[in-house]
């Protein structure tokens, strides 16, 4: 059994140059050029990969690291996931050693216990060589591109085998392999990768990533040729220092203190209840320490977020609480002192399964941080998280084609989006999902035998507050072929929390064979529950939490919400203490100011 110390892997890695001697304009120009090259890498994949999940969903993270494995620049697909893309490179650096990082090499890696997040995320990276001032060619940078693939071997197609007993049951592990050795393709390795994946186009997609990394190498070599290796290295130091300075400036403005909170996940896929997260955040001047000591250590549970994954979600949440312009590089997350005891749910002992834990408790890290900080950073504490469990998978025979279909239910719906101070939640998901691009009825109904009857906002499902949480969707999908449903649902017992006196959002609820005489109400998982053609799957997605006391909400805003049916007439009075006269039907609603003031005063007492 291998046991890589990921805390050590993530640790601080010194500067490249003791005293950076690069003018800041050059550093700025090089930063722009590197971010453009990251963008070019991501676009190259979307232009050349063949599977929709790679070329359409935006789930691609391109990064440039320095020779020490420090993140220099990036182009973000999904914020939380990008931050797991540096550690596999560092593992490879440690494992192979600098001597075996050669010009023309390309590596691939996907293993959560060697720095990755979860197995379907494949990282492909390549060293960039250039002549140093001494005339000797050396590794200056590393280009890396990480993409989520549709399969990774293992017991269940798609890489989400949430009941697997260990990591091997979830898929094939590639800690770090050379796919191109000094410019020569390793046919044996690529063939092994291909053989261990169910999707025929997988290897072509991996080649798209290899091509992207090689393109970035060529571009970066040109950049280094133009400016010189030490100037580029000095610029990396400059960028990292700049982000670190900006980060400390933000933390320095936060009130000193120790802030603690708890959060829970309803259960793991086995039904073990109340997975516990605890955080202690210490702000001391411009120093930030985040300590998860006290989080769940039960070893029989099945909800493990690897250290890299925990770190990614932590940085994602912290980033959302700061000036969005601060570059997300090594300087940013090197500034967080992260303490995650080995063996707890947020830093498991090796080889535990991670399919479920990547999302829960992984994502819930954002919630516990926001809850801890709500009273010191009231205007920034918006949990950047979700309460999904895993995507629902529906498998059956498509009567139109006679072939098996696998519907991952990756369509649009709304849920779990908290309000912030001064702003009602809007859209469908929190900002950290901003780059996702989900499918719709007119796309998926031609691909899968189903009808999406609706996914409108559920009235009254958004958490009441001075600013209102987003309503969740009421989603109904009719299957038009006999099928089986596999899922794992959370957020039923612990919905999105209210912040600073706001109320929580409505919980999730999912029913298979909805409206039939034989409804299956999901308690924690559905393990291939049968459903007949013509029956429906129903999801009531949870709402987001509200911000601030609902009694402080502007009555006119409540009236508007009632007119727009985000809030019902009854809930205006019940949840907000706003008395309305007239009817919605006749558009005669008005706020009864006197009765409202009286009711609110009595509630406050």
């Amino acid at each position: 059994m291998t046991d890589v110390d990921m805390v050590q892997l993530a640790g601080h890695r010194g500067r490249l140059i003791d005293v950076p001697d690069v003018d800041i304009v050059t550093a700025e120009v090089i930063r722009g050029a590197m971010e453009t090259i990251c963008f070019e890498m991501a676009v190259y994949v979307s232009r050349t990969a063949t599977t929709p999940i790679l070329n359409q969903s935006n789930e691609r993270n391109a990064t440039i690291l320095d020779a020490k494995g420090r993140l220099a620049a990036l182009s973000v697909g999904i914020p939380q996931f990008m931050l797991t893309s540096t550690l596999p490179v560092r593992f490879a650096l440690d494992f192979f050693g600098e001597d075996e990082f050669c010009e023309g090499d390309v590596f691939a890696a996907n293993d959560p216990y060697h720095g990755g997040g979860h197995l379907p995320d494949y990282n492909v990276f390549a060293p960039v060589f250039a002549e140093g001032e001494d005339g000797v060619r050396r590794m200056v940078l590393i280009a890396s591109i990480q993409c989520h693939h549709g399969d990774t071997g293992g017991g269940v197609p798609g890489g989400y085998n949430v009941t697997a007993g260990d990591i091997w049951g979830e898929g094939v592990r590639w800690p770090a392999v050379k796919v191109i050795d000094r410019g020569v393709e390793r046919r044996d390795v690529l063939y092994a990768l291909q053989t261990n994946n169910r999707i025929p186009s997988y290897i072509g997609d991996l080649r798209a990533q290899i091509g992207a990394a090689q393109l970035a190498c060529e571009r970066l070599e040109r950049l280094i040729d133009r400016y010189g290796a030490s100037v580029v290295e000095g610029s990396v130091d400059h960028m990292v220092d700049y982000a670190a300075r900006r980060f400390r400036e933000e933390v320095g403005a936060w009130p000193d203190g120790v802030y603690e909170a708890d959060a829970y996940v309803d259960h793991d896929p086995l039904g073990n209840p109340d997975i516990h997260l605890h955080v202690k955040i210490t702000v001391d001047g411009d120093k930030l320490t985040i300590d998860y000591t006290g989080s769940d250590t039960r070893q029989e549970i099945q909800a493990w977020s690897t250290f890299g994954n925990t770190r990614g979600y932590t940085v994602g949440q912290i980033a959302s609480m700061m000036d969005p312009e601060i570059p997300k590089n090594e300087g940013f997350f090197d500034q967080i002192e992260l303490i995650v005891p080995k063996g707890c749910v947020l830093n498991p002992h090796p080889d535990r399964p991670v399919s479920a834990g990547t999302h829960h408790p992984g994502a819930d890290v954002g919630e516990v941080i926001a809850v801890a900080m709500q009273h010191v950073l009231p205007d920034k504490a918006v949990p950047q998280t979700y309460k999904t469990g895993i995507p629902t998978i529906i498998v059956g025979q498509d009567p139109r084609t006679g072939t098996t279909f696998t519907d991952h239910s990756a369509e649009v719906y709304a849920g779990w989006c908290n309000a912030g101070k001064g702003m009602d939640a809007w859209g469908a998901q929190n900002a950290s999902f901003g780059n996702l691009w989900k499918a719709t009825a007119e796309i998926n109904e031609s691909l899968y035998p189903h009808i999406q009857w609706g996914r409108d906002y559920r009235t009254d499902s958004g958490g009441p507050g001075q600013w209102r949480g987003l309503c969740g969707s009421h989603y109904e999908k009719e299957v038009r072929a006999d099928a089986k449903v596999y899922t794992y649902v959370v957020g039923m017992k612990y919905p999105m929390p209210g912040i600073c006196g706001g109320e929580p959002g409505e919980p999730n609820r999912m029913v298979i064979r909805y409206g039939s005489d034989d409804e299956f109400v999901v308690k924690h998982t559905a393990d291939w529950v049968p459903i007949s053609a013509g029956e429906r799957v129903m999801y009531d997605y949870g709402g987001g939490g509200g911000w601030g006391n609902p009694l402080d909400r502007d009555p006119q805003a409540v009236l508007d919400d009632v007119l727009d049916e985000y809030v019902s007439h009854g809930a205006a009075e019940r949840d907000y203490g706003v008395v309305l006269t007239g009817t919605l039907e006749d558009l005669t609603l008005t706020v009864d100011e006197g009765a409202t003031a009286k009711l609110r005063a009595s509630r406050r007492r």
Binding site: G32, T36, Y44, P324, S432, L436
Partner: protein, 687 residues
Amino acid sequence: MGYRVGVDVGGTFTDVICVTPEGEVVLDKTPTTLDDQSTGVMNGLALLAERFGRPLADLCGDLDILVHGTTTADNTMIEMNGAATGLLVTEGHRDEIEMRRVHKEEIWDPTYPAPLPIARRRARIPIPERMDFEGNVLLALDEEAVRRGVRRLRQLEVRSIAVMFLFSFVNPAHERRAAEIIREEYPDVEHISLSHEVMARGPEFERTSTTLVNAYVAPRIAAYVGQLQEKLRSAGYGGPLLIMQSTGGVMPPEYVSRRAVSLLASGPTGGVMGAALAASRAGVGDFVAVDMGGTSFDLCLVRDGRPEIKTDWNWRYRYYIGLPMVDVQSVGAGGGSIARVRQGALLVGPESAGSNPGPVCYGRGGTRPTVTDADAVLGYLPADGFAGGRMTLDVDSARAAIERDVAGPLGIDVVEAAWGVERIVNANMADATRRVLASHGADARDLALIAYGGNGAVHAWAIAAELGIDRILVPRAAPAFSALGVLVADYVVDLLRAYVVPLSQVELGRLRGLLIDLRDEAAKELEPTGLTLDQIDIGVFAQMCYPGQNFDMSVPAPEGDALDEPALLDLAERFHDQHERERGFCFRNQQPLLRGARLVARGTTPKPDHFAEPGTEPDADATRTGTRSAYFGSEFVDTPVFDGTRLAGGATIAGPAQIEEPFTVVVVPPGTTARLDELGNYELTLD
């Protein structure tokens, strides 16, 4: 042949260009009138009449044609002051427009606000009805619900109604019936947009967004065009008015008022069409067109003389527009971009001083240093004003502002600071260009650069050097290039009809019929133009994709009897080939999906022989007006200044040099040669 006039409304100036019966090209500028753009248009015409020494009515009587680029649609979306709009939508899909396929623009910023709604939820009325993906009725249209909904919208004082039913592009029966009911219930509704007419394809978010924007801006466009037509009539003009669309083509008001959304972002396309013509005359097929103005830098890749067309991921003013558009990308880099230092980093733009207050050196109240201020300090601009002489520049104040906001905080001298501002804005523009090229798989080193806009000629050399481009064209008409572009643009009718079916199951009769319908419709649309058949070029395409893909590809298709079974097999092969060419791969063992038929009709318009009146002086030295001290990275060098208006075609000038034109300066750095060609373009060749 009479006079031909192009008028393009920009943020600051309304540019007019006129080609006389003798082929002379006259160009002028007048301030844009924001509240009613037609006032500025008429002012521009009056300026022209004055230049010709004739009364306006006279000139109007001799006008053959007036072509117009307007930003009315864009302004409506910027100010969000369109018509009160309602939506009738398939029940269960009322909130697609808010959910936006989960997209939010700022992924790190949870406080980023929602877009202002075109139709609030109360004005989005769910209607029970449903088609499946093949157009079979799953649930009949609830006509009573439509009636109730329309009455509800009237009660809400809605003036414009969008109808968006799922799979209406496959079977539009329910949308059409809903339109009939709307007219019965609300006879004086200002506008109805049916989603299958606005955008004949899925998916529903894209179509909902496009249809709503169309319904929102259409009444504004109709009112504006009506007003302009009225003014033109009373000025004595009875000829055709043509409006520029974002497809890069022009069409009469009747056509564009039904497709108001196609005017959105049409502004920059004029310049691109002008660049395409200028380039083809100069024998350049592949190039990047760059327009650097006061607040933005617009760029477009043109290959083989054809601008790249954007068909997906097209966001404008926070709404998705699902129609093909000339792919002009815009970044916040212009003469007015503000330079500032933050935590030891020098940032330039996207914040802009615009034209008001503008750069510090304009002396109109601007206090923060801009790119134009750096240009002035480095000696690229005439302190005593452009040859037009309308404005003098306060270089001392510009220098002081750069000293205070940039040089001081960074601890460097003011010239180094100005040069830093220059390098960063040029790198930003080059990076933006590289991103566009990357998206299309193009390499800058294979391309020329065509630069226009007020600041294009000043920065072109630096952008080109950054990108590794060695050939630059700067048209002399550069400052009013969009007006020239709209004048030379062709008529374009772009029509799409859905027919979603695996290619192997295509009913030939149905597809042939669709193509006949498209031809009939195109002929009808083009009738008012008076074009004859030989002036119209028609392309017919099958829209195809692999199952599961988000986007279609337009594959040239045969028609009539030629569209037989073997032709379908051939179509599949052509699709695979085209997919391999454009996307780098194909699946020959996969059955492509047909998504519809598309017809693009282009009607040609007359083009002028040249784009600016040349001078008569073949000897460049004879046009020298003085010397300016300018900085190109190492030290200030004496830079001769020339009067471009006097230069004859063929004149050659070696850098360092500056060539002054009425509204801009062509900066020629050391090691670069500029040559004025016979058509009125400066051609710069970098080492």
